[in-house]
Amino acid sequence: MRNKRTMSLAALSIGALMLSACGSAGGTSDSDSASSSGSDENLASTITMAISQAPTAYNGNTAATNAVYNTYVDNLTSSAFAAFAASGNLERNEDFGTYEKTSDDPLTVKYTINEDAVWSDGTPIDYDDVLLSWAAMSGTHPTGETDEETGAEADLFQASSTNGFAQLKMIEGEAGDKEFEAVFEDPYADWEAMFTTGLFMPAHIAAEQGGLSADGDGAELIDAIKNDDRDALTPVAEFWNTGWAYEADLPSLPDPALLPSSGPYKLDNAVNGTLTVVKNDKYWGEEREGQTDTMVFKTVVDEEAVQALQNGDVDVIDPSSPTVDTKTALEQIGETVTVDTGQSLTFSHVDLDQRPGAVFEDLKVRQAFAACIPRADMVDKFVTPVDPEGSVLNLHEYQPAQEDYQTVLDGAPAAQGDGVADLEKAKSLLEEAGKTEPVKVSMMFASTSQLRADQVALVKDSCDQAGFEITPQPEAEWSAKLSQPGAWDAVVFGWAGSGLVASGQSIYVTGGEQNFGGYTNEKVDSLWDDIAMNTDAEQVVPLKSELEQMLAETQYNVVLYANPNITAYSSKLEGVEQNPTQTGVTWNAYSWTKQS
């Protein structure tokens, strides 16, 4: 009886299942027609961008706030005479104004700000803004307080760097001027990179907040700076240092009236680490005019960015130090997401202690070490899985992502090579150097980094066969130990390239602050003097080719590869393009559009 009932029940349910497998219930019938009717005109009003840390301040020119996350926002809310483009080179921003070099001795550049250029509150961008930038960045307002240890004197303005501006004479002009001349006391190679996006801060706001009147195009502030009136400038400097800072993790934005913008977008609001900028209705330019109404910067840690992109919480992600896993995860999402890969200006390298008496004092030993390091292997393991076009890095001052890389490399034959480890060559070089015992090398790296540990393991694997004996030396405080002679024999770490011409000087010249291995070469020193004083962009490439040739011949260090970069974005977006410099992916965000 029960058997029968169970049987019939089973038969019934199987029958029902068979029948029902064909159809389905529910669904929205009108959704398809609504979405397919979209035409080109149907653009979304908001684009959301993920950044892994919340911006910290509107003024990114101070020592405390000079971070890439502020630059991401500055790219939209600020403009100036030039900006770094995707080629890694500077590009003029004619919207903002024009400039031309009028003299080489002394180096003089004439700048003209666009007649229509105004802050988003309507105040013209003119002489007082320029003069405040000079005052803040030139380090010419010492407070008189000296640091006990270093003996350095603190400045009223806590600028991140005084490079270039310290060489610049005070910029002459009158209140309301739209034209000015920059006259340098000493030639400065990177003069074009000085008046770039993010530099100019609204002087009328700083003046008002510092207790000065902003009337008459900032005449009071101009007088105070020209007369070096410390009492009047102190509150202005205090505001410049900290008044534009946001609260940590950006729970809210200061009064937007204090944050007028000079770019295609202006700051609107912030909640819980999410910052919104809206189109600047006072923006005068055409080339860089914002294409989408609202841009949102959302704080998402790198590990979670892929899922946030997949779910549409953000439209663009730009994870720092992406791995193969990042790329695989992104590619698995499918065609709704576009993945761009490329190379950044950050590169890994091995520095060698070559002071008298150190392991790598002898050039032959350095060359042997360079020969046995499996650079091509590292590229195969860490770069090409992410960026298929990645290659071994052969230069110190240029990375493959830069236009001039190939030209410079062609001019420096000694630097060329495929990076495949050559154990025989390493062995014979060591023999020539008279090393009969294995050469002991203690190789330092950051103990927190798995990547560095992997790199050292690869070096050990290869070089131990060539007559070295590598001891991995993981250090938590590796950066402090860099400048301690004898604390290491070799060290692997990264440099973030800047795209600037002269910024690498202290790495390579005799006694340079960041010349950790104690390298010294007179030819290199004099080449650097020429480069730093050279103001003609045309001459940089031949000078740097010569420099690279010298560095390769004398085996300054071993450069490994430039880190790969990933930018991923919703396929509805148009206009996103990677930028290898530290300007970041938002460098052209004003031109982005999104299909809704």
Partner: protein
């Protein structure tokens, strides 16, 4: 009592002092505060090092540096006068505002999850204790050990994949094949059969009824487009009101007293009338209006149920209030559901986010904004609830079993009390005493935030403050976190002791 509190406060103070000393030196010796600058070569490096050295007092030896920090804390203890900042972080920003933000965020994130885990855990724990060694008991034991051992970050990733990314895609065009509907019905049937239990025949009946009801309900929801425009509707609210009245009466009074049931039904009727009235009132309210309406409804129900309750006035009135509050909650949920279609459109058709605590620039009604908060809370709340649910179930089950085997329970049964009275009045209350201690610790833990959950779901809470501080070897935020969490632990410990003395007359504080 006073002596006890005074003594504990003094001891706690010294415990905290010793703990902060230890914590401070552990933090500053945990790494290199300049590690992140190692690979920068630009001219800004020196300036950044100088600025950071000044902000963190790195030019001062460690022991005097600790006293400088203590001095900053001291400023907060002295009323008025000197500014209270709790020191600076490495960028030179004051720590106190960061701490306040972090605490606000954390409370929002963790309180709901903790309460939910507590209620669910206790209820399930009691049921498993009553039905010890049943299939249900074994299933829950299995599930809670599974949840115990789940790594939170992995669970979160799964939740994001299935309950956000995939569910959003499904919600865009909600449909199931008939086969899927049937399978869901079968699964629901099995679960109900296991939960309800009984002999084979009863289980079969429960299975059949539950399976058919679930499949049919799901089918109806799908064909009526409920997932596109959700809500209870007037009829749904009427049925729910009756159901709520019966449920609460069953739990709190039993059906023996007819007048109490009548009073409960009357309260449900009043609440339903309140719902009809509120349809117009609640289009775009604020919190004040909402709370006021709930209070008014509760008072009316209290009076009405009390009047009808007759001889059982007090009990009936209490049940009336419970029903009013339950119905208010239901009305709020209904309203939030009704706000779903417009909010979903504003979120670009993907309403459930994987990250963040609220949508940027959302403009809309009270209901849309709160539904947005709720949707942002869903995933982290589920993750947190699932994990602490396991603890509560196990503790409650053990505690309840312990009590059920006591002599006085046997006595109560022997007196002829109903099983409901024995379980709820005699067993449950006493079983709750050890849970109090657990709760006290848990709420202290709440303030510490949920380190991983905050990180994974992009909330700027206490956990993130702590982790970021540790990563940057920045004692300012780490110590601020520690001050709050340490004080809470010490304080709640004391409160638990005091509560214990109140709940259990055998214990005296001396």
């Amino acid at each position: 009592m006073f002596y006890f509190i005074a003594k504990r406060t003094v001891i706690s103070f010294f415990i905290m002092l010793a703990a902060t000393t230890l914590m401070y030196f552990l933090t500053i010796s945990s790494g290199d505060p300049f590690e992140d600058l190692g690979e920068t070569s630009g001219p800004e490096k020196a300036a950044t090092i100088a600025a950071r050295t000044a902000a963190m007092n790195l030019d001062v030896a460690p022991i005097p540096r600790y006293f400088l920090w203590l001095q900053d804390v001291g400023h907060c203890l002295v009323p008025g006068g000197i500014s209270c900042t709790l020191g600076q972080d490495r960028t030179g920003a004051a720590v106190l505002p960061q701490l306040e933000n972090a605490m606000g965020s954390t409370l929002r994130l963790v309180v709901v999850a903790t309460v939910l885990a507590l209620v669910l855990g206790v209820v399930v724990g009691i049921v498993t204790a009553i039905r010890q060694y049943s299939t249900f008991d074994y299933s829950i034991t299995f599930v809670s050990f599974l949840l115990f051992s789940l790594p939170l970050f992995w669970l979160s990733t799964l939740l994001k994949q299935y309950l956000a990314i995939d569910l959003n895609t499904w919600l865009d065009n909600p449909q199931f094949s008939y086969l899927t509907i049937a399978l869901i019905g079968v699964v629901a049937g099995v679960i109900w059969a296991v939960v309800v239990g009984g002999d084979r025949r009863r289980r079969l009946v429960v299975f059949a009824v539950a399976a058919v009801a679930t499949a049919l309900g799901l089918y109806l929801l799908l064909v009526t487009g409920w997932f596109v425009t959700p809500g209870f509707g007037v009829i749904g609210m009427l049925v729910s009101a009756a159901g709520i009245a019966v449920l609460w009466t069953a739990l709190l009074a039993g059906f023996r007293r007819r007048r109490v049931l009548n009073a409960a039904l009357a309260a449900a009727g009043v609440s339903f009338a309140g719902y009809l009235v509120s349809i117009q009132l609640l289009n775009d309210p604020n919190w004040l209006v909402l709370v006021a309406l709930v209070v008014v409804l509760a008072i009316i129900c209290y009076v009405v149920a009390g009047l009808i309750g007759g001889p059982f006035r007090a009990q009936a009135a209490r049940i009336g209030v419970v029903i009013a509050v339950s119905m208010s909650l239901l009305i709020v949920v209904d309203r939030l559901l009704q706000a779903y279609p417009t909010l979903s459109a504003k979120a670009g058709g993907r309403p459930i986010p994987t990250t963040g605590s609220q949508s940027a620039n959302l403009e809309g009604t009270f209901w849309e904004i709160n539904l947005d908060y709720a949707l942002h809370l869903i995933l982290p709340t589920i993750a947190l609830t699932l994990i602490s649910f396991a603890t509560y179930t196990r503790y409650t089950r053990a505690s309840q079993l312990d009590v059920m085997n006591q002599d006085y329970i046997r006595t109560a049964r022997a007196k002829g009390l109903s099983e409901r009275t024995v379980l709820v009045k005699h067993a449950f209350r006493n079983a709750m005493i050890p849970i109090t201690t657990l709760m006290a610790f848990d709420f202290a833990g709440v303030l510490g935030g949920a380190v991983i959950t905050e990180q994974v779901f992009g909330w700027n809470g206490m956990g993130k403050l702590f982790v970021d501080g540790i990563n940057a070897v920045d004692p300012g935020p780490v110590m601020a976190f520690f001050l709050v969490v340490g004080t809470a632990a010490v304080l709640f410990n004391m409160l638990a002791d005091i509560a214990y003395a109140f709940l259990d007359p055998r214990i005296t504080l001396s």
